[in-house]
Symmetry: C2
Subunit: 335 residues, 2 copies
C-alpha cells in the first residue's frame, strides 16, 4: 500500500491528462471556456488520481478562505455548561453557513490571553468574516475585532452601538408581554430574576419589567441571576426571603425559571396557584417542567439563520442593517 504517498497535485493531474495546469484549474473551477474533450480527459485523470485541490495554496492565491468564524464568549475556566442557547445557535448557524458553502471555524473567546489569539487569528486571514455570539457589554473583543476591518456581525445587540450590524429579538417587547400577562391575572406582587446586567438582553428585559410595573404604580422586586439554572434557584430563594408575599415571578430566561421552579417546590409553594412563573426563550425544556412553563418564545433558530444571512449580505454588499425579530407569548401551566 502506498496510502501515505503525497497527495497528487494539479501538476500531476495535468501530466496525466496531457494538458496544462491552467486547463486542469479551469475544469476544477467549472469555468465554461474549456472544450468538452479536454474537460472529459481532465475529469478522468482527477478521478483516477483521487485529486483534491490543496486548500492552503488556494487560500493563499485567492486571498479568501471560504471560512467563517463563530466566536463564542466562553464562561470562566472550569465551567462547562450545557447551555441550550449554545447548541441551538452554533448548530443552526453552522448548518446555514454550510448551506452557503462556507466552512465554520469555532472560536471560544475566554481568558484575556485567548482574546489576543482571537485577534491574531482573524488578522492572519484564516477567515473571511466572523459572527460574534452573545458578547457581554464589558467585553472589549467586539471593538478590537471590528478594527480589523473584517466583515463581522453580532448575534445579539452589543452594548456599544455602531460597531457592527446585529440580529436580536425584541427583548423589550417580549418582557413587556410577559409582565402584562402576569398583570392580567391580577398578580399583586410581581418579582423578576434578571440576567447578568452586562448583557444587553438582560438589561432590556429588566428595563421592560420595570417600565411596565411602573406604569401600574407597583414597585419592582429584583434579584440578580446569570442566566443559569442554579442562579435562578438561588435568586428565587432570595426573593422569597425579601418578600414572602410575592405571587408572581418573571425570570429573564427559561433556565433561571426552571431553577426558580425547583426552589418554589422546595419551599412548598404551588405553581401557579401561589406563585405564577413565566420565563423567556421557550427552550425545549420549558415543555417538560412540572408544571409546564409559560414563557416568551424568542425565535432562536431564526435568529441564528438571520445572523448568517446578515453576514453573507455584508460580505457581498459591504453593508447590512440590524434586524429585530418579534417574540410571542406562549401560555402553558405555570402562569
Amino acid at each position: 500500500m502506498l496510502g501515505d504517498m503525497r497527495r497528487p497535485t494539479l501538476h500531476a493531474v495535468a501530466a496525466r491528462a496531457g494538458v496544462s495546469k491552467s486547463s486542469v484549474s479551469r475544469v476544477i473551477n467549472g469555468e465554461p471556456t474549456v472544450a468538452p474533450a479536454i474537460r472529459e480527459t481532465v475529469m478522468a485523470a482527477v478521478a483516477e488520481l483521487g485529486y483534491v485541490p490543496n486548500g492552503a495554496a488556494r487560500n493563499l492565491v485567492t486571498q479568501r478562505t471560504n471560512t467563517i468564524a463563530i466566536i463564542v464568549s466562553d464562561p470562566p475556566a472550569g465551567l462547562v455548561s450545557d447551555d441550550p442557547m449554545f447548541a441551538m445557535v452554533v448548530r443552526a448557524a453552522s448548518r446555514e453557513l454550510e448551506r452557503a458553502g462556507k466552512q465554520v471555524s469555532l472560536v471560544l473567546a475566554g481568558s484575556d490571553e485567548s482574546r489576543l489569539r482571537v485577534e491574531q487569528y482573524l488578522a492572519a486571514g484564516h477567515v473571511d468574516g466572523a459572527i460574534l455570539v452573545s458578547m457581554d457589554g464589558a467585553d472589549p473583543l467586539p471593538a478590537v475585532l471590528s478594527r480589523t476591518g473584517l466583515p463581522i456581525v453580532s448575534h445579539g445587540r452589543l452594548a456599544t452601538p455602531g460597531l457592527m450590524p446585529w440580529v436580536d429579538n425584541d427583548n423589550h417587547g417580549g418582557a413587556t408581554q410577559a409582565v402584562r400577562h402576569l398583570l392580567d391575572q391580577d398578580r399583586r406582587r410581581i418579582a423578576t430574576i434578571s440576567g447578568p446586567l452586562d448583557m444587553t438582553a438582560a438589561q432590556e428585559r429588566l428595563a421592560a419589567y420595570r417600565d411596565t410595573l411602573h406604569d401600574t404604580g407597583r414597585r419592582s422586586i429584583i434579584a440578580l441571576g446569570d442566566f443559569t439554572r442554579i442562579s435562578g434557584a438561588d435568586a428565587m430563594r432570595q426573593l422569597l426571603d425579601d418578600d414572602p408575599t410575592l405571587d408572581a415571578v418573571f425570570a429573564a430566561n427559561d433556565l433561571m425559571a426552571i431553577g426558580a421552579l425547583r426552589t418554589l417546590r422546595e419551599a412548598g409553594r404551588r405553581v401557579p396557584d401561589d406563585v405564577a412563573v413565566i420565563g423567556f426563550d421557550d427552550i425545549e425544556a420549558a415543555l417538560y417542567t412540572a408544571p409546564a412553563l409559560t414563557t416568551i418564545r424568542s425565535p432562536m433558530t431564526a435568529q441564528a439563520v438571520q445572523t448568517v444571512q446578515l453576514l453573507l449580505t455584508l460580505l457581498t454588499n459591504g453593508a447590512a442593517d440590524p434586524v429585530t425579530l418579534p417574540t410571542e407569548l406562549v401560555i402553558r401551566e405555570s402562569a
Copy 2:
C-alpha cells in the same frame, strides 16, 4: 484612514527593520539563533506595522494547519435540537484544543451530499486531524474518513471496530448499575426506553438491561426512542399501554427520562411511588426535574477532554489506545 490597506508582509517588516526575510521569520518563530540586536529591531518593526503572519502561506509551506476538525453528525433537516451533549462535548473539546494551541473547525455531517464535502474537506489538507462525535453505526463516514490516512479519533465507540481509537464511557457497566438499583428496590416489572439501535451506546445500554434482567428470570419490556425528550415521552406512553402494571423504567438517557416523567405525570402515576424512573448521563437538567432524577453519571466533560488528548497522542506518536471511562450511580428522588 488607510485601514483597508493590504496587511504588511514579512517582506515589509524586513525592509522596515533593515534585515532579511529569513531573520524576520526566525524572530517570529522564536528561533534561538538570532542576535539580540536584530531580534529587537524586528520586534519593533512588527509592532509598528502590526504584522501578523499570513496563515495560508504558512500552512502551504509547512504542510500543517494547526487545525483540528470536530465532526458532528447532524440530525435530519429542519430539526435543530438543544442537545446538551452537543454543547458539553463541543465546548469542552474546543477548550481543550485551544489549550493545546489548535484551532477548531466545526463540521456538521448531515445529508449524504454533505458527507462528500466532509471527505473533500479533510483531503484538501485543511486540518491536521479530526474528532468524530457520536457517529451512528450505519454511518459510512468513519470508514471513508479513516481511509484518508489522517489522524482521527472517535468520541464514542464505533460500530465497526478497529477503524480508529476512541474514548467511551462504560455503557454496559452503567446500565447494569441502573437496573440493579431498581432490582434492589424490589421493583417487579422493569421496562426500558432504548436509544436508537444504530448507536453503540444505545446497544450496550440495552444489552446490559437485558442481561441483568435475564439473570433474575424477568422478561424485558422494551420501547424504542431516539435520545430526545419527545421520543421518551412517546415511548413511555407506549410502555404504559403495553404493560399498565410496570413499576420501573430505565431510560437510556436523561433526556428520554425527562420525557417519560412528563408522560407519567399526565397519566397520573406518582414517581417514584408508582413507577421508579432512572436515567443515564446525569445532565444538569436531571437536578431540576420534579422529582429530581436518579441517574448514571457519565463523565461527559472528561470524555471530551480525553478524546482530545487521545488525538494529540495519535498526532505525535502515530498510535493511541482506546479508553473506557467509569460511570457512577447518582441517587436522587425518582428511583
